[in-house]
């Protein structure tokens, strides 16, 4: 890994996931499997730290991060 900061890496990641074909493929795969989404408010304790209007799925989260 280069000397890039975490912030630099995350910024690059957001752009790639939202706009590159490779990134869209990754998001599509993760959304299809659902393996990394949360789909329920099973535990209020876990859900506490998330505003209720935040994205619940991969596709929502990465579809257009610039608009967040």
């Amino acid at each position: 890994m280069s000397d890039a900061t975490i912030g630099d890496r995350v910024a690059a990641l957001r752009v790639k996931l939202a706009h590159s074909d490779a990134g869209k493929d990754v998001v599509a795969h993760l959304s299809a499997t659902g393996s990394l989404d949360t789909d329920a408010r099973l535990s209020p304790v876990w859900d506490q730290s998330w505003p209720q209007n935040w994205p619940q799925t991969w596709q929502q989260a990465w579809s257009d991060p610039e608009e967040a």
Partner: protein, 379 residues
């Protein structure tokens, strides 16, 4: 109105029916119980005080909540419902339980009052039974799984919180496979920390952060390929903070997002773990008593003012100097206190392992996935 829901952590009893090796609660052999008067005062203050808005979560915890008779909750839930109705306020109840005392009567109560359930379960028996034991030393895994089967057979959804020790980190596949094979879909983990009366952590070794990162990386890989899958709180919360240009939110390091109330009605804010702490500087962290004080009086309480000023100073240090700030929201005050004896500090061992380790694992995983996909596109 805030988009965040206030969390009120209530201690119905000091007692716990088991004796986990890493537990931070000092009075878990005593059977002190919260009075109905304390419950009613909490509800009245919570629903009518200007400090809370939105739906309130009552989390019954800080002792085994099912070790008090069901009648305790029949009355408590009924009283809270009446007060909520008079204030026209929404709320939910939640138990964080070891699940061992669940039976048909508890299932009935959980259904009637729509109680959310979190079960404490550390994974397969060979991991769980090392720490979560009876007072005589016998493991509790079998009894916990009986409770989980009861929840599942009755269609009651639940989440699991697993405490990770250094031992767990060597067993990612077994850890994942256990939850997958038992139909447990959502798991969060806490790490074995020095806090309260727990004076030793298995994570004190230097290599713990890298071992934790490997553990999480393996869980992410398995989550993508194994079916049925298991979703891990740490992963999805990190994904959300990585995906959006909004700071991660940490419930525990801002005042009155969590209100902790012990069995006597003593209240405090920030991390529930601080209810088990004492210090010369901050006393026993009591910031008022619900039987005598209004909730908003906390802002004039000297202990609160001292702790709040230090917590805030610590957060400012996190924000200025830690590159993980955006994805963490600042370290846990209780971790800072138990490790450093104060709150106006920045990084803790817990930060390095639990927070930074998760961000590193998720970020590197995504970067690898993107590199792989790019490579395939160019072939």
């Amino acid at each position: 109105m805030s988009v965040f829901r206030p969390l009120i952590v209530l201690q119905p009893t000091t007692f716990c029916n088991i004796d986990c090796k890493y537990c931070y609660l000092p009075e878990r052999s005593k059977t002190k119980r919260m009075s109905p008067e304390v419950v009613r005062r909490i509800a009245t203050e919570a629903f009518f005080s200007p400090v809370f808005d939105g739906e309130i979560v009552f989390l019954w915890h800080l002792g085994e909540p099912l070790s008090v008779p069901i009648e305790f909750y029949e009355q408590a839930f009924s009283d809270i419902a009446k007060i909520a109705a008079s204030a026209n306020r929404a709320y939910v109840h939640s138990f964080q339980t070891n699940g061992m005392l669940l039976d048909a009567d508890w299932i009935s109560l959980i259904r009637r009052f729509d109680v959310r359930i979190g079960v404490s379960l550390d994974g397969p028996a060979f991991i769980h039974d090392r720490q979560r034991i009876m007072r005589g030393g016998k493991g509790t895994h079998q009894a916990v799984m009986r409770g989980i089967r009861l929840l599942q057979n009755n269609g009651i959804a639940f989440g699991v919180i697993a405490v990770l020790t250094a031992f767990s980190l060597a067993h990612a596949d077994a850890f994942f496979g256990f939850f997958r094979d038992n139909g447990i879909a959502q798991v969060g983990f806490n790490i074995d920390e020095i806090e309260g009366v727990n004076l030793v952590s298995s994570f004190s070794a230097d290599e713990a952060a890298s071992r934790y990162k490997m553990f999480v990386t393996r869980l992410i890989e398995l989550g993508e390929t194994e079916r049925p899958s298991v979703k891990f709180r740490e992963v999805w919360t990190t994904l959300r903070s990585l995906s959006r240009d909004q700071p991660h939110y940490n419930l525990a390091n801002r005042p009155l997002r969590i209100l902790n109330v012990d069995w006597q009605g003593n209240f405090s804010t920030f991390c529930p773990e601080l209810t088990a702490a004492t210090s010369e500087k901050y006393g026993d962290f009591v910031m008022g008593n619900i039987l005598h004080d209004r909730l908003e009086s906390i802002f004039d309480n000297e202990v609160f003012k001292r702790v709040n000023a230090e917590v805030d100073a610590g957060l400012q240090m996190c924000e200025r100097h830690c590159e993980y700030w955006q994805y963490c929201g600042g370290g846990e005050p209780s971790s800072k206190f138990f490790q450093h004896g104060r709150f106006d500090v920045m990084e803790t061992t817990t930060c390095k392992i639990h927070k930074q380790g998760t961000v590193d694992a998720v970020l590197e995983h995504l970067e690898r996935r993107l590199a792989d996909n790019n490579h395939m596109e160019h072939q």
